[in-house]
Assembly symmetry: C2
Homo-oligomer: 224 residues x 2
Amino acid sequence: MSDAEFKPTPGETDGPVPKAVVSRLSLYLRQLQQGLLGGQTTISSKELGRLLGFTDAQVRKDLAYFGHFGYPGIGYKCEELISAVKRILGTDQTWPVALVGLGNLGRALIGYKGFAQRGFTIVAAFDNDPGVVAAGPIDGLPLYHLDNLPEVARQNRIRLGMIAVPGPAAQSVADRLVAVGVEGILNFAPVTIKLPEGVSQVGVDLAIELEQLTFSVVNRGATT
Amino acid sequence: MSDAEFKPTPGETDGPVPKAVVSRLSLYLRQLQQGLLGGQTTISSKELGRLLGFTDAQVRKDLAYFGHFGYPGIGYKCEELISAVKRILGTDQTWPVALVGLGNLGRALIGYKGFAQRGFTIVAAFDNDPGVVAAGPIDGLPLYHLDNLPEVARQNRIRLGMIAVPGPAAQSVADRLVAVGVEGILNFAPVTIKLPEGVSQVGVDLAIELEQLTFSVVNRGATT
DNA sequence: TAGATTGTTAATCGATTAACAATC
DNA sequence: TAGATTGTTAATCGATTAACAATC
């Protein structure tokens, strides 16, 4: 892939990219990788859309925000498009991630295989319970007391953090992550956290996901 | 709260409710419950919006899809609005949920405190590894082989399921859940699953959440 | 060439916001 | 009453879809 196939910088020429577009990009990538495993070498916008429940026009428009990746009459070459989307998302490199919170959820995140496959490695995990930390590495991952966050985060050039602590502790943990230069936080605590400008957040509240599901079960067909 | 404050059925009179509205409803509920803990008895659309980063108009419009819950000049009474939103979402009752998959993530879900607080109880957990099942209950929760899904699901009147199995197994598990009458599936496997009409799904892909975060870190400010 | 499919423009559709009469 | 705030309408804004010339 040559740089020329990419637009200068997404946003500079075309205004900001809608969040919905970016979230579909991840789904395209996942589907493309699955297709590639199945031996597929090219795919049309129509087929990719069908597999995910989108229109062909939407697939093409989404990709067109970022450049010209397709071949008229042919479609998209899977490997090429995978590389392109990874690069757009920033996951053509592996990101070191800090995890805070070593309860059930934190431990599950440590064991989660899916991160490595998509360009993320948890390189350090923190808790504020000395007993938990003293129990030593989990799956070879070093554990630290939260007080050691500054050194460890800087040594590992950590820009992304995951918060898996109880709700009441989340804001304070977020503040400490921001203080050591973390630029993005994936928050699993069931509270809204406030972050300064320039720090991104994605919130995942497991109970809310079930709640959304419940609404659509109870109100079958009453959503857009 | 009297029934009269609710519109007949969301959707019948006003067309389908946008998904985005429903997802904000969950955030309103979470924020209201947090406010109530802090002793707040009423809240205005302006304040609720400010806490979550929405406009006051949006808050009022979202709630107005479902009825008249506010008091002009006063705002909303927290307890009343909490009850109303729970009822809208369907979480004014507790839902029994089946969990399939007893790896790291499945076990974390069993231990997750947040579900009970929001109206969900995992009442049975399944795996297809007999060794895992034989190891016996986890936190008092009975474990079953997946082959026992039909009896157990029917005995417990289970309508919601969570899938926490590896990607390649997810579709087959989904099919089995649907076969026993499950109406909504929360899918943690990193694949798109196909379900028949009339069965809802919400997908949570942890790696995709990190990916979305990464994009916004790399393209600071370039999203809507 | 004929058939397929892209990237892009214009039209449509839907969601958000601003404004304000009604209400407490 | 004056001040605050709702529910709702109309205006704005943004995202999706349809259509099609260009391309392979």
